[in-house]
Each structure stands twice: as C-alpha cells, then as structure tokens.
Symmetry: C2
Subunit: 130 residues, 2 copies
C-alpha cells in the first residue's frame, strides 16, 4: 500500500504527516511526500530551498520510525492540487492525506481550491486533517 502526503511545512501539513505515520504503521504502507511549486517566473529560488528543507524534515520524521518514505519536489507548472492528483494516478497511490487548515481574516476556516480539487479528482480515498 502507498500513502501520498502533500506537504508545505504548515502545522496542518505536519498533522497530515503524523496521521500518515499512524496509517503507514497500521497498514504496513510506504509513504510518499511531495511538495509542489509552480515553477517558472512565479517561483523564487528561496521557495525551492524552503521546500527542499521541508521535505528533508519529513523524510527524517518517517526514518525515525523505520517507515519507508520517499520525497519529491514537483516543479512542473501545476497547482499543488493538480500535482497531487496526477502524481497519485501515475504512482498507484492508495490514499492521499492533506492538511486543510486555511483561515480567513476573521478566523473562519476556509475550503481551499487545492483541497476541493484533490477531494473531487483523486483516484483514491482522500483523508483531510485540520
């Protein structure tokens, strides 16, 4: 079994990693963690650096519990939602886990377009974590 996690370094995404660890342990699954950047003129070098560091942190997080984990930074002109769904299809993913905590200025929890896209388009069950 393969679990895919979209990771952007946010607290909500960290909760997604923690749940992925729990699921991987229970299912004997391997975990793939991806970060997504659009690339081209809209992505700065410092963002690539941060995303790379985030993925290294995630790798260590799973290594600590001997859970097989691969990480990948996708920079191919797609939104994070599109990247996750496409990657899941290309790699035979069984479950996607995403953090969805996004708040408006008045503190209301928002439904991000990436989360909606993943839930509606994913080829497998999607677990959302707040």
């Amino acid at each position: 079994m393969k679990i895919l996690v979209g990771y952007d370094g946010s607290n909500s995404a960290k909760d997604a990693l923690a749940l992925a660890k729990k699921h991987a342990g229970a299912f004997g699954a391997e975990v793939m963690v991806i970060a997504s950047l659009t690339g081209g003129s809209v992505t700065h070098a410092v963002e690539v650096e941060h995303a790379t560091e985030d993925l290294e942190w995630a790798k260590t997080f799973f290594d600590d519990d001997n859970i097989p984990c691969t990480t990948k930074l996708l920079v191919r002109g797609m939104t994070p939602g599109e990247d996750l769904v496409d990657y899941a299809g290309e790699n035979g993913i069984d479950e996607i886990i995403i953090g969805i905590k996004r708040r408006s200025k008045v503190g209301k929890l928002l439904f991000g377009s990436n989360a909606q896209y993943v839930i509606l388009k994913a080829p497998c069950p999607v677990v959302t974590v707040k």
Copy 2:
C-alpha cells in the same frame, strides 16, 4: 479507536463502508454507522423504513468479518452533515468516513454541502470516498 461512517445506502456510501472495514481491520477499531433523517413533516414513514433496512444491511456487512459495529438512525431535525459532526464530538470518534459521489445533470462531480460541512467542522480526520 472508533470509526464513524455516514450511510445512506448509495453506492458511494457502500464504498465508504468497505473502506471502514479495511481501516477497522488494520487499526483494530470499532465502527459506528449512522443514517440521518431530518424528521418532522419533511420525513415520510417509508424513509424511516428504508434507512432502518440500510442500517441492518450495514450491520451484517461488518458482522460477517467479526468487526464490532453499532448502528444508529438519527432523526433530530439536523442535516446529515450536522448529525455526523455532532455525533463524532459526542462519542469520541477518531475518524469519519463519507461517500461523496454526487453528480450534476451533465455528469460533473459535485461537492455536496454535507461533505463540505463535515470536512470543515469535524473534530477528527475525515476520509472521503468517491
């Protein structure tokens, strides 16, 4: 661990039950299946009968694999989304699983208001199945 499934007898909800069985087996969890009807003048007796039959079917589905399962028909004037979230909070649920397949007349997959409500308001991770 406790897994809550919202069940309305649809194919998408049956897929949610199947995933709940898989998760319950892996986590050694118990499953609670609820059906939700608004009640009062907007709910007909035949709907109560159908929902009761649906829940009996779900109970047998888990009994067949010796997975602890309780079922409950909620008729308390709330939407299915509100019922699921409230029930999860009241019963210390660790994971909610829901089917989300709803299509428009032109076949486009829609995001139902109940699914959105559950994902944004649930006190625990939510697994969506199409």
